[in-house]
Symmetry: C2
Subunit: 81 residues, 2 copies
């Protein structure tokens, strides 16, 4: 089973990496980029496919290691393959 975890800064938290990318894109001539948010992305392979509480397990991984719950939010996506 494969899980995808997306970690990004919460709304309102200053995102220097995102603004730098936005400025760089404008500098490269890409018009209309009004905002960029930067984040992290993890692809996690679980074997054997764990029990029903897999989403809860992944949320625990995020809270303990993958994200900083104070300033970051996360989104979990589960794939059967």
């Amino acid at each position: 089973m494969k899980a995808r975890v997306y970690v990004s800064l919460k709304e309102g938290i200053f995102d220097p990496q995102g603004s730098t990318v936005q400025q760089a894109l404008s500098g490269l001539g890409f018009a209309g980029v009004s905002r960029v948010k930067a984040g992290k992305y993890f692809e996690i392979e679980l074997e054997p496919a764990p029990s029903a509480d897999v989403r809860q397990q992944l949320a625990k991984m995020c809270d303990q290691l993958l994200a900083n719950p104070t300033i970051e939010q996360y989104r979990i996506e589960l794939n059967a393959d």
Copy 2:
């Protein structure tokens, strides 16, 4: 219009961040994590909603700035909102 861009290392490229996260998760007691791939995630807001070639435009952004095409691959997702 909002676009999401996911950048990760190509298959076969050594991913030290991913293996470190995998080991850390095992160390924290999460069993069954067979592999972790780490990557980057960008949320890009485009305003005004650009013309039909928006996907091509985003691919150009990836090739020029967001990803290193030699070792990284990317995936683009478009949202109407």
